[in-house]
């Protein structure tokens, strides 16, 4: 067990305590077979990383695109006038289309106002699903 200079500066009881923790909290040394397995796996991973370096930026780009798409799609569906054409009540005249677009904006803004009012009036933490709250708590703790 390595011993740093800092341990020597400790009181004897502190030193004994740390030594006991270190003795009890240590992994088994690797056997020859497991050492060989470790080395083989590491060699494979090193070879893979050296063989396909161009995949890393490509993967990063794909992940970025996926995230952007994820955030872009819902807002596009709400704001895209063509989105309404998929609904059964399709309008035939340009005037009706404009009216529908205005109505959609009104509904959207009313919904936003209602959501905002609810967010302000009710307990703010209840606004998020439990999973998100749990995740937020986890990051607070770390």
């Amino acid at each position: 067990m390595p011993s740093s200079d800092e341990r020597k500066d400790l009181r004897p009881d502190d030193r004994r305590f740390i030594q006991r923790v270190a003795d009890h909290y240590t992994p088994q040394p690797l056997s020859a077979a497991r050492q060989a397995t470790f080395d083989r796996r590491l060699s494979e991973r090193l070879a893979d990383s050296a063989r396909l370096p161009f995949l890393r930026p490509a993967g990063l780009l794909a992940a970025t695109c996926a995230v952007l798409l994820w955030f872009a799609l819902p807002s596009q569906q709400v704001s895209d006038p063509n989105f309404k054409d998929l609904t059964p009540r399709s309008a035939s005249t340009p005037l009706a289309q404009d009216t529908d677009a205005a109505n959609t904006q009104d509904i959207t803004s009313h919904a936003s106002l209602l959501a905002y009012a609810y967010y302000q009036s009710e307990a703010q933490t209840d606004f998020l699903p439990a999973e998100y709250l749990a995740l937020a708590d986890a990051f607070e703790l770390l």
């Binding site: 390595p2 740093s4 502190d14 740390i18 923790v21």
Partner: protein
């Protein structure tokens, strides 16, 4: 103390560097694995994965290594960050799957000692803040100097000493039975 491998020893040609990196892996493998095991909470498979990933990342970035710090300092900085990333991912996964917070410790992965006591030590380490835990493991359990630890964590030495002091107080409080030399710490462990 660290076994120093400087940029000069790494060689200028890629082949020389690879050969020296192989030597570096052989020199640091056991210590890196033990450090990762302690940082991730006694999980053998996770420790091996974290260690290998740290070696791979160091290898990938070898071309950008300019030798401002020693190769060991650079590598252990990567390893500590990898271990932290693993812990963070495990915390999110645990909450997401509503699993028990207690991470099972592989009873065959540690030296012959009480599994309950090992779990309690892991839990006591969990109670520490990230920096306190890293400082405690690096300096007190692994024997790195405060300055080396400060280099790994990117913190001033004074801050590391402060973390060490607080970590030791908390650990002694959590594991009070280990303070008593004659006390039988293993019986109070409870699996």
């Amino acid at each position: 103390m660290l076994v120093r491998v400087g940029i000069a020893e790494m060689g200028a040609l890629p082949a020389e560097r690879e050969e020296c990196f192989g030597t570096f892996v052989a020199l640091q493998r056991d210590r890196a694995r033990r450090l990762a095991w302690r940082l991730v909470g006694g999980d053998e498979a996770a420790a091996e994965d974290v260690t290998q990933e740290a070696f791979v990342r160091a290898y990938q970035a070898l071309g950008r290594f300019r030798g401002e710090a020693s190769l060991e300092t650079w590598f252990y900085r990567i390893l500590v960050r990898q271990a932290h990333n693993y812990r963070r991912w495990r915390a999110v996964r645990t909450l997401w799957q509503r699993e028990s917070v207690e991470e099972p410790i592989d009873p065959t992965s540690a030296v012959q000692s009480d599994p309950g006591l090992r779990r309690r030590i892991a839990q006591a380490l969990d109670q520490l803040s990230r920096r306190q835990r890293e400082a405690f493991v690096l300096v007190y359990l692994e024997g790195f100097t405060v300055q080396e630890c400060a280099d790994f964590l990117g913190s001033p030495s004074g801050t590391v000493k402060s973390h060490l002091h607080r970590a030791l107080v908390k650990m002694r409080t959590e594991l009070a039975d280990l303070n008593d030399e004659t006390g039988d710490a293993t019986e109070t462990g409870g699996a």
